[in-house]
């Protein structure tokens, strides 16, 4: 009897509830569209005939598909070098940040450490103040890290936010695990490598994702630090420069002029096609990685929220 009544109630949703449902589905469909379509629009334009694209004909699906934009993008001087720098700083920087965060997160959970709380506070405090860009730049100059690849990597190694994440995670692991290993005669390093590392892998994955995205997206440090050695420009900076050079970049990529006129119009690079192609190249790694690692991002922000 009661069951039937409950069921009936579900069927006869009030008018307001139905409106709410409709509103939510429509609203979030629009939100999803607004977040996804710009990327889709740019992508289909890079693989469509460039003359159609220039006329604004490519809105929902690609027409006259060709991949010449990508081919010639690799001919743009400096782009390949910039991609190399971006990949290198992402790989090396991520390894550095993840290792340091794992190690420090573990070490700062060692209550026996001499003045542990003081050191921890000194590290965490750096989240909340900033000397400013000029003092930072001058420091980097003193350390010979301007116009130097390591200037991208070294300052990012000790990252307080990621240390908080790992430390919180380490503290959620039963203390007995470490104690048992220590009774068996394991030193602190053995405990870290043999006992702790396998257990904290999930949080290391989270930190790795955050760190990699930060490195890949980093723009400001390159803008400040690279004053003369343009070979060290990462992709982000190169993309920014291309966006600001408007039409003069056309000359960069148009080297071939062999094909017939009609075909040429479809595949000749325009300033817009070059910009869009570079945009896709820069955004693609994130797009490909993101859906698979989303749960790690979410986990990270939730742990971070518990202990900020």
């Amino acid at each position: 009897m009661t069951e039937i009544r409950v069921k009936k109630k579900k069927i006869h949703q009030s008018f307001g509830d139905t409106m709410l449902s409709v509103f939510c589905y429509v609203f979030f469909a629009i939100c999803a569209f607004l977040c996804l379509y710009p990327f889709y629009y740019i992508f289909i334009n890079t693989i469509s005939a460039n003359d159609l694209s220039a006329r604004g004909d490519i809105l929902f699906w690609p027409k006259g598909i060709h991949f010449k934009n990508y081919k010639s993008a690799f001919g743009i001087s400096g782009l390949f070098q910039a991609a190399k720098i971006s990949v290198m700083r992402t790989v090396i920087g991520t390894i550095g940040t993840v290792s340091a965060s794992a190690f420090l997160g573990f070490m700062f959970s060692q209550e026996k450490m001499w003045h542990r709380k003081l050191w921890y506070r000194i590290v965490i405090a750096t989240m909340y103040f900033n000397a400013g860009i000029i003092p930072w730049f001058l420091t980097m100059q003193t350390l010979h890290l301007t116009n130097n690849f390591w200037g991208f990597v070294l300052p990012a190694i000790v990252s307080p936010f990621h240390i908080v994440l790992t430390k919180t995670f380490v503290e959620s692991i039963p203390k007995e695990l470490q104690e048992a290993a220590e009774i068996d005669g394991a030193g602190i390093m053995t405990v870290f490598f043999k006992v702790m590392l396998p257990v904290i892998k999930p949080i290391m994955a989270t930190v790795a994702i955050f760190a990699a995205v930060n490195q890949w997206n980093a723009f400001q440090d390159a803008l400040l630090l690279i004053t003369s050695n343009t070979k060290l420009y990462p992709l982000q900076l190169v993309l920014y420069n291309y966006l600001n050079q408007a039409s003069s970049i056309k000359a960069l990529a148009n080297t071939s002029s062999s094909s017939s006129l009609a075909a040429a119009a479809a595949t000749t690079q325009t300033a817009t096609s070059i910009r869009m192609t570079i945009t896709v190249i820069v955004v693609l790694p994130i797009m490909m990685v993101y859906p698979f690692f989303q749960k790690y991002f979410v986990k990270g922000i939730m742990i971070g929220a518990v202990k900020g």
Binding site: S21, L36, G56, V123, Y128, I134, Y240, L243, A305
Partner: protein, 307 residues
Amino acid sequence: MFKKIDKKKWYSIKLFLFIVPFLVLVVLFSYYPLYGWMYAFYDYKPPKPLSEAPFVGVKWFKFMVENPVRVEQLKQVLINTFVMSGITLSTSWIPMLFAVFMNELHRVRFRKFVQTVTTLPNFISWVLVYSVAYNIFNSDGMVNSLLVDKWHLIQEPILFLQDSSHVWLTQWLWLTWKNLGWAAIMYIAAISSIDEELFQAAKVDGATRMQQIRYITIPSLLPTFFVLLMMNIGNFLSNGMEQYYVFQNAFNKEYIQVLDLYVYTLSTVKGGYPLSVAVSMLKSVVSVILLVVANGISKLTRGESFL
């Protein structure tokens, strides 16, 4: 007995020694730069070293409030910073509502899809956001080519990106586009931790979904909202420079310059180092005070600090 204590002490110091290299990095990259605040008190002109620069005391600080051109500039920069941070602060309830309504999507796959897609913009850089903006709103971008060439609604393309009268609003919109989904995640997590029985009980009492939102979901999210609000207050002066740097151009310059960007711009001007340091120094000090005050409010009203 003594030996035993020594051993313990030695072990605790050994643990400390392991982290020393990392502490050195922290000191080098985060604390040592503070020494650079000295430059605000000298007439420093690179590449000459600081030791050769004349000490000028608080000249640059006075300069900020006495030189009429600078005063005007600084005033505008402060207005920009306050308005844009103010808009962000006063709309910080939007992510909460976003999460609340997202929770009303009962088709799990659609909800997951929406969540994934709306958090995506948070993970692309500001340069890429600008690139998206450029490709869509530029004079030969998507919107203009539709309006001018395709639908013949207007004759001349609208220069969205050069527009200077709605900079504050458009910058807020871009910021929201980038951050909204991600900011909502914190609330989504908080919603999932609400006791399911509350909703069951409300349903038995005949509460509509709107009433459940109003009397259960939103009140349980308020603590989270409060903490985030306080953090926002702590960051009031720190909008970061990247967003405004990439979006700035000759036309919107006046209204887009926030403090962080102004500090950078000053540093690129010849001989602007000391003034830039002086401004950023004041900014840092005020920021820390704001943070401490916000933390104090949080402690007083809710009994917990977020620092």
